[in-house]
């Protein structure tokens, strides 16, 4: 068996080619992810709830609407900087932003949130107001908010919400509730108390009372958000205003229960999985080969020690010990990789030793040795090349089990929190009960991706199996 045969098996069989193409695509995607994702994605972005606050929670992927034809609001988000108009009104300067928003048939958004950043003023704090102008020309005053004025001992100019944006969840805001109460009474003569309104804020904002009088029918059409600030002095004002209408569906892969964009996490998991698989496979296989060669070639006490050790390590029940060690040392990807390596080498060490023993007694090796080649030279020049194919095969065999092991550990809650992996996404989906309420988009894709990456390596090993184990190639039934 030669390395060349393995190369042929990979390049010239459909299975091998499929595996290689799939692996190549994964590597390219991984490189893109590593280059384009921010450093410290795990801590700063993924595990940071603030980052995901404007996303809908536990929303299915946006394309689901095309599958089940249910009306769903798309997730809508817009940021505006400079006001469109500024006019003087009495002692105030009124700056206005007109932000159009379209509601499709039956697709009322899940929530409404307003974020205002970088408020600056000289003396008097600006007043903020948001009005919703609806398709039927009715106007709902959604919010009136006064930015916090000067504190005792504070000197102007004053800055507010530079580091902590002012975020108001309009669908749950008390002042919105009372505005709506007023609006319903004036416009439709409906008397509802705050507790009645609270659960149907969005229905009221984007609908009209239905004929039966006990509910609200969605009103589709073009809405406009009119956002205004009232300031005293020129130069006072806000940096930006952001409006979010939460969708019932989000992005390519949906979101989890704290609104994380699963597509981002899933993509980020790819390079991590590949690195775990390849690093563990490469290092453990190298260790196994070196120890196996040493054991077979040196013989004597070294052989005995290495073989006994391999025997013991090969027979240790790995997962319980992994759990224990990770629990003690702490969840850290490097530690996970290190422990996986420490438990993956013995199989090859035993196998390589047997091969070296065979080769050592071969005529070629004996001849080379009698010509005075040094031990290490013989190992390097004559024995290593013959072991190479097994080395490569073993790398391919080991990689998927390392990936699965990390996923399993992550699922038990022992994953490295600073580096999100598919196992951790699954763990979150399981721990928070996403499984039991049928959040399939949270559960199915990460598992599928684990299977995809692991089975890519399985395809490769399937392709090279006839080379490594030629007896299986022709199996004929006798008689």
């Amino acid at each position: 068996m030669r390395v060349r045969q393995i190369r042929d098996a990979l390049l010239k069989t459909p299975v091998g080619l499929l595996g290689l193409l799939s692996l190549a695509a994964q590597v390219v995607l991984s490189v893109w992810v590593v280059v384009s994702y921010p450093d410290d994605f795990g801590n700063r972005v993924w595990s940071n709830p603030i980052h995901w606050v404007d996303n809908p929670k536990a929303a299915p992927p946006a394309w689901i609407g095309r599958v089940d034809n249910q009306p769903r609001a798309d997730h809508w988000q817009t940021v505006r900087g400079e006001p469109e108009t500024v006019e003087e009104k009495g002692r105030n300067l009124i700056a206005s932003w007109n932000i159009p928003y379209i509601v499709e048939e039956g697709a009322v958004p899940a929530f409404l949130a307003l974020t205002v950043r970088d408020v600056r003023f000289e003396e008097r704090a600006p007043l903020l107001a948001l009005t919703l102008i609806r398709p039927d020309e009715t106007r709902v005053s959604v919010l009136r908010h006064a930015v916090r004025g000067p504190r005792e001992g504070e000197e102007g100019p004053y800055e507010r919400h530079f580091d902590d944006p002012l975020r108001i969840q309009l669908s749950a805001d008390e002042s919105t509730l009372s505005s709506l109460q007023e609006f319903l009474a004036e416009e439709y003569g409906l008397q509802m108390d705050a507790e009645e309104i609270r659960p149907r804020v969005m229905d009221i904002l984007f609908g009209v009372p239905d004929a039966a009088g006990d509910g609200f029918a969605p009103m589709s059409g073009e809405y406009t958000f009119l956002f205004q600030t009232a300031t005293r002095v020129e130069g006072d004002g806000i940096g930006s205003v952001e409006l979010v209408a939460g969708g019932d569906a989000f992005g390519r892969m949906g979101t989890d229960s704290i609104g994380r964009d699963l597509a981002q996490g899933l993509l980020y998991g790819l390079p991590t999985a590949l690195v775990i698989g390849v690093v563990v496979a490469l290092l453990s296989t190298s260790i196994g080969t070196v120890l196996g060669m040493a054991s077979g070639y040196l013989g004597g006490a070294a052989d005995t020690v290495i073989q006994r050790l391999s025997d013991i390590v090969a027979n240790i029940p790995v997962l319980p010990l992994l759990i224990f060690l990770l629990f003690i040392i702490g969840p850290n990807l490097t530690v996970i990789i290190g422990i996986l390596i420490a438990f993956s080498w013995p199989g090859l060490a035993i196998q390589v030793r047997v091969m070296v023993l065979h080769m050592r007694s071969s005529q070629l090796i004996e001849a080379v040795q009698s010509l005075g080649s040094s031990r290490w030279r013989v190992m390097y020049r004559h024995i290593l090349p013959q072991i190479m194919p097994y080395f490569l095969a073993q790398i391919i065999f080991t990689a998927p089990s390392a990936i699965l092991a990390e996923a399993g550990l992550s699922f038990l809650g022992l994953g490295d929190p600073s580096i999100p992996t598919w196992g951790q996404i699954l763990e979150a989906g399981f721990r928070t009960g996403g499984v039991y309420v049928g959040y399939w988009w949270w559960i199915v894709p990460p598992g599928l991706l684990i299977v995809l990456v692991a089975s890519t390596f399985m395809l490769l090993s399937l392709a090279i199996e006839p080379v490594v184990n030629p007896r299986l190639r022709q199996t004929r039934r006798a008689d």
């Binding site: 004929r476 039934r477 006798a478 008689d479």
Partner: protein, 333 residues
Amino acid sequence: MAPVLQVRDLYLHYADPAGVVKAVDGVSFELGEPGTALGFVGESGCGKSSAANAMLRMLPGNTARYEGEVWLDDVCVSALDAEEFRRTVRWRRMALVPQGAQNSLNPVMRVGKWLTEPVRQSRSSDIAPDALERQARGLLERVGLPAGAWNLYPHELSGGMKQRVMIAGALIFSPRLLIMDEPTSALDVSVQAQIMNLLKDLKAEGLSILFITHDIALASDICDRLAVVYAGQIAEIGSSEQILEQPAHPYTRRLLGSIPRLHDEALPEFIPGAPPDLRNLPGGCRFHPRCDVPLAVCPERVPVRLKAEAGQDVWCWLHDRTVNQVPLEVNSE
């Protein structure tokens, strides 16, 4: 009296991705009186072992063509259906000592059990267990194995011992015919001699032997008659003396010439060219590309059975006076 064994037009072809392997291609011969031995001699890969398998109907899964008649004591055993052949002929009347006895014993079965298994499994035999054991132990003693071998596993036996167990096993039903496929090729010379002596004794007791080997000298030691096999066919058949002293086929001559001899000036000659590929055989006489005296007719027509001497038949156009004896012109490109 009918001959012990008669084989007529035996064919065994295998299907192979690269073409049809014509391992046995129209073989006919007979083995006369009881207590005689016929040698099947030829280079490796010429189809000798396939002929043995064909006679025992041991057919691999990729068999493409299997036909011919096998007569054992006036009974056409090839006409029996598979199950009957198994129950009445195989091992009972025709037993095989295979090539490579090293792996022919079940690794997890003790020798005694293995030896008596076919009898114990046989529905037709009603021999008492202790009588069977006595008989089997007698056979072990006969082939020169210590009594203790009875309880051993194959991995505890040497190569020679395994070969003897195989022979003892083949004799358990006291068959009429023993087919021995290279029975000694893996053994060292002293063991080989012991086994040859054993075979001679068995022959003297009336056992007929088909002795398959690549070693023509060894074959002549025990065989009364020899058949020289080339590319799935018999090239020449005759008494051992005739084959050794006056070979009629050019291939036999080259085969004899390739044996190194003591006290001989002539160096052993090798046969030019490679043994033919059974998937892709030359037309006409299959030996003609390697023959040193080919005729013009040889590539054209398949030779027929011709009488060279009384009791010596040869498949070679050199012996047909009705054929134009013009040598083949060799293109020396």
